[in-house]
């Protein structure tokens, strides 16, 4: 599903959250949106399936203007769009499976079919063992994986991710990132991902969008943006990325050393 945003504006009372955002994401592309806290990322992404009503501008999803949709059209759209929340937003009183199939069942999918699809989605995120647990019995990472499964079960043509790892501790972040890596690596729908995970973003993104104070300040392929940042924000992200790469090579050297010594040990064992 192609997404195009033109001149999007949104304010909350005195706060201007979006101040004329233009954005294009082609069918099947992965767009990563980054920016400092409060710059309007969540607002932008929520405007796309109208969890937030924009004030001005156009939002074309699959060629249709979301803002002009009737309630029924909107519901139909939302069923084709998966949304992953920062805080997982699981329904506390429902089991893992029920959470995943809630939308399907209520939109008319037969319960058995929905359960099959739900179970499949949960399997994909590695949660097949926990179908009948309740959210409060799961760790944060597990909950977020259920959140992802819920979006996947919709068989979405567009996936919207609003900082899926932001409220997780580093180990859980890993878990979730692995799932995301997996999803982005294989065939996938169009994705808009808001995240602060710079390495993941740069690796996964087809298109990098930097948002600052309600405006897009950089947009383009990550390599290009990182190579020639045009904005202060862009430069800061480049610095972050380079520091990360340096760190990564240190880790790699240490990792290789560990592998060599491990091999040596194995060989010595085999020898004796």
């Amino acid at each position: 599903m192609r997404v195009e945003v033109k001149g999007l504006k949104k304010r909350y009372g005195r706060t201007v959250a979006l101040n004329g955002v233009d954005l294009k994401v082609e069918e099947g592309e992965i767009a990563v949106i980054m920016g400092p806290s409060g710059c309007g990322k969540s607002t932008l992404i929520r405007c796309i399936n109208r969890l937030v009503e924009a004030d001005e501008g156009e939002i074309l999803v699959g060629g249709q203007d979301v803002r002009r949709m009737s309630p029924t059209e909107l519901l139909r759209l939302r069923r084709r769009v998966g949304f992953v929340f920062q805080h997982f937003n699981l329904v506390e009183r429902l089991t893992v499976l029920e959470n995943v199939i809630l939308g399907l069942v209520l939109s008319g999918v037969k319960r058995s079919e929905a359960e099959q699809r739900g179970a499949e989605a949960l399997r994909r995120v590695g949660m097949a063992r926990h179908l009948y647990r309740y959210p409060h019995q799961l760790s944060g990472g597990e909950q977020q994986r259920v959140g992802i499964a819920r979006a996947l079960a919709q068989q979405p043509e567009l996936m919207l991710w609003d900082e899926p790892t932001a409220s997780l501790d580093p180990i859980m972040v890993r878990e979730v990132l692995d799932v995301m890596q997996e999803l982005t690596a294989t065939s996938h729908p169009t994705m808009l991902i808001v995240t602060h995970e710079v390495p993941f973003a740069l690796r996964a993104a087809d298109r990098l969008v930097l948002l600052d104070r309600g405006r897009v300040v950089e947009e383009g392929p990550p390599s290009l943006v990182m190579a020639r940042p045009r904005s202060e924000l862009g430069r800061r992200y480049r610095d972050l990325w380079q520091a990360h790469l340096a760190d990564l090579s240190q880790q790699e050297i240490a990792g290789q050393k560990r592998t060599i010594s491990a091999c040596r040990r194995k060989l010595a064992q085999a020898g004796s």
């Binding site: 969890l51 519901l75 949304f83 929340f85 329904v91 506390e92 809630l102 939308g103 209520l106």
Partner: protein, 795 residues
């Protein structure tokens, strides 16, 4: 910006509106059932208690109360009383507030007016008897019917359809009904009957004097008949005497009269140019050393007088400030300046001259008289002694008088003897005879002399006994005059006699002389005999006794007595009296003294103003006051009253249950909806990004009050709730208020997180589905949740 609560109202799309409506409706029905049920249960419980207290309906006719301590004796006596009422039953009930209640049931043949009207005479002999109460059922009682109106109303009440008979007790008429079903119709017709009349109390103005109250009221009634042609115009002035208040007012009036009797009465002789009106104040010098000066302030020691009445050129008033003593003591002795009175203007400024002042004081006069009496008493003692002396002198004079008379008689005898001795031609007068005669006559002369000096010495007698003494002396005096003349004759005769005896001794001359002398002595003696000395003496002794008694009087005690009287006179200062009188006047104002009021039974439709005018003309005063009262008010029998009371208790309980129920339902059910509404509204803008004046009530502030009003009004009215001070329409604002309160508390009672709503929205749920599947099930258990379960896909 759009409607501020537009976002919230999204929630009511897709059928959720219907869910809520059904829930509210069901809530109302359930609430009615609960409130009415609880109320009914209480009602039933209390109803049973009433039956326990009063017996079954119509079982007993009256309750006779007896003081608890006399219970045993009363119980024994009750048997004897009941023998006079054959067929009557008695049951001893509970003791309440120190009184034992005996329930008495009379047999049908004794349930008559005659028995009921005299029922007290049967029971008032019971030991510890403390009254009785009728509990005849079914009955209706008209209370507060003046005795005079009762004979007129009683037959009319008995004629009402449904009334068996009626009887009077105290100020009430009780109508005994044929059956309980007639109660409301008889009640209505009784009210209609009473509405035809009014009791008009006419209070005559204070101080109004009437020769004959009944005659006056007859005149008034006649005038009203002539003027208004009413169906009813009857004088029902009762002989019951004044009530407590009237007694109080009359006491006050009495005190006022008493005080005024002791107050200094000030009269101002007006000098014509400055008119005074009652209520005005004037001022004079009083005991001050400074006379009033026009234009200056009134000094506190000036004499300040409040005018009460003005007649012609004389104004009368009472002292309100200052001391009137100077005017009382020296009266006319004061100079013009001190006597001049000035008007008080502007509160306390001395205005123009108005006239001359004079002050009289009854108390002061009494005291002066008492002081005079005291002085008299002190003198009395001395006077009595003096009077006694005088009386004793007069008594002595009387004795001298008697003595003189005796001597005179003896002298006359001697004269006769001598004279007789000279009978015959050659009779020679003997020297011895002459000597004897002379001695005798000298004695008489001396006697008369001392008598005269004594009588003259009595002199002026003092007051006590004066009249008696002088009457004695007056009787004596003429005789004493004669005696004085006689004495002179004697003296002359003696001189001559002595001369003759020595010189000529001519018998003829002597004889002649002797004859003359004898004659004079005879007439003198006669004169002396004319005074009844015995009676005079008696008179004098009685005077003496009286004076003696007077002397023995305990003067000190008498003095003390008089002093005491003087001290006992109220020592009220004029200012105090003036102030008190003014206060009393303010208080009793237009109040009429007891006895000076009439009660008339009149048609209801006569206008009080017209009546007042007509009566005022008859009484010749416009200060008549009128009070129109109803003839009485209808009350149901005791059970009816209690049941009526219970009914209102029932209403109150239903109302309270409705209140609690509504609040509970609002908190449990609707606070969830309210919280959800608030979340949706907050999406548009939340918290700090808004200034306080930008705050708009969102849909939650509308929903809560609406739900509250709908539920409370429905339950309250539906269950027949009736809270004191709350009219039926009042349910709406109370419901609104409850809803508003719920709106305030909602998020604390049933928090709803936006994340939960978003979760549903993001996967394409309608708002109704979000509410049904996510919000309501997570909320508090209640009717909404219970109803929701059948719509819920995920149980």
């Amino acid at each position: 910006m759009g409607i501020p609560w537009g976002d919230g109202l999204l929630l009511f799309r897709d059928g959720f509106r219907r869910d809520v409506a059904v829930a509210v409706l069901l809530t109302i029905l359930l609430g009615i059932a609960v409130a009415a049920g609880v109320a009914w249960a209480t009602d039933a419980y209390f109803g049973e208690t009433v039956t326990g207290l009063l017996g079954e309906a119509g079982e007993y006719d009256l309750i006779v109360q007896v003081r608890e301590e006399a219970k045993g004796a009363a119980r024994a006596e009750m048997g004897r009383v009941l023998r006079q009422l054959p067929g009557a039953k008695v049951k001893e009930g509970l003791a309440i507030a120190g009184k034992v209640n005996f329930f008495v049931a009379l047999p049908a043949e004794l349930r008559t007016r005659r028995v009921f009207e005299s029922i007290g005479t049967y029971f008032n002999g019971l030991p510890g008897y403390a009254g009785y109460t009728f509990i005849i059922e079914p009955s209706l009682t008209v209370r507060g019917v003046p005795a005079g109106a009762q004979p007129l109303l009683l037959p009319q009440i008995e004629d009402l359809p449904g009334v068996d008979f009626a009887f009077r007790h105290g100020e009430s008429i009780t109508a005994v009904l044929k059956d309980a079903g007639a109660t409301s119709s008889v009640n209505a017709s009784l009210r209609r009957l009473l509405r035809r009349y009014q009791v008009v109390e006419v209070r005559l103005p204070l101080g109004y004097q009437t020769e004959d109250l009944p005659a006056l009221s007859e005149r008034i009634v006649n005038r009203l008949r002539d003027q208004f042609h009413p169906r009813t115009a009857v004088d029902i002035t009762g002989g019951e005497g004044g009530d407590d208040f009237q007694a109080f007012v009359s006491t006050l009036a009495e005190v006022r009269r008493f005080l005024e009797g002791y107050a200094s009465r000030v009269t101002v002789r007006l000098q014509g140019w400055e008119p005074l009106r009652p209520g005005d104040e004037v001022v004079a010098q009083g005991s001050s050393s400074v006379p009033p000066v026009v234009g200056e302030r009134v000094r506190s020691d000036h004499l300040r007088v409040r005018i009460q009445a003005v007649e012609g050129q004389t104004a009368r008033g009472l002292v309100v400030e200052g001391d009137p003593a100077p005017y009382l003591q020296s009266g006319a002795g004061l100079d013009q300046a001190a006597l001049t009175a000035y008007r008080v203007v502007k509160g306390d400024e001395i205005g123009p001259q108005v006239g001359l002042i004079r002050v009289e004081n009854e108390r002061w006069r009494i005291i002066r008289n008492l002081e005079e009496s005291l002085r008299m008493v002190e003198q009395l003692h001395g006077l009595a002694a003096e009077a006694r002396g005088a009386s004793e002198e007069v008594l002595a004079a009387l004795e001298a008088y008697d003595r003189t008379r005796e001597e005179l008689r003896q002298a006359q005898e001697v004269l006769q003897q001598v004279n007789a001795g000279l009978e015959g031609p050659l009779a020679q007068i003997r020297q011895s005879d002459v000597d004897r005669l002379v001695a005798e006559l000298n004695r008489v002369s001396t006697s008369i002399g001392s008598l005269i000096s004594q009588v003259e010495g009595v002199g002026a007698a003092p007051a006590p006994g004066q009249s008696e003494l002088s009457s004695v002396l007056n009787r004596l005096n003429p005789v004493v005059q004669i005696l004085a003349g006689f004495r002179k004759q004697i003296d002359l005769f003696v001189v001559e006699l002595q001369g003759f005896s020595r010189l000529s001794r001519s018998t003829g001359v002597v004889r002649e002389l002797l004859g003359q002398m004898e004659q004079a002595a005879g007439s003198t003696l006669e004169a002396m005999q004319g005074v009844d000395t015995a009676t005079l003496r008696l008179q004098l002794t009685s005077v003496l006794e009286r004076l003696e008694a007077l002397e023995q009087l305990d003067v000190a005690a008498l003095k003390a007595q008089l002093e005491e009287i003087k001290a006992a006179l109220p020592d009220l200062r004029d200012e105090e009296i003036g102030r008190s009188v003014r206060l009393i006047d303010q208080y009793i104002g237009g109040e009429t003294l007891p006895g000076q009021s009439l009660s008339l039974l009149l048609d209801r439709d006569l206008e009080p103003a017209a009546l007042k005018a007509a009566i005022g003309r008859e009484v010749k005063s416009d200060r008549v006051s009128l009070f129109a009262l109803p003839v009485g008010s209808v009350e149901p029998d005791v059970r009816g009253t209690v049941l009526h009371l219970l009914n209102s208790v029932r209403g109150t309980i239903a109302g309270l249950v409705a209140l609690v129920f509504t609040f509970l339902v609002l908190l449990l059910d609707h606070s969830t909806v309210i919280s959800a509404l608030r979340r949706l509204s907050e999406r548009r803008c939340r918290g700090a990004n808004r200034r306080w004046w930008q705050w708009r009530p969102d849909a939650s502030w509308l929903y809560g009050p609406l739900a509250g009003a709908a539920i409370f009004t429905g339950v309250y009215l539906g269950s027949g709730g009736r809270l004191p001070l709350l009219p039926a329409w009042g349910a709406v604002p109370v419901g609104l208020a409850l809803g508003l309160l719920t709106s305030l508390l909602a998020e604390r009672v049933s928090p709803v997180r936006d994340e939960q709503i978003l979760a549903g929205e993001a996967v394409g749920l309608t708002y109704a589905q979000v509410m049904r599947e996510i919000v309501i099930p997570a909320g508090r258990p209640g009717i909404l949740q219970w109803l929701n379960r059948r719509r819920q896909k995920f149980k």
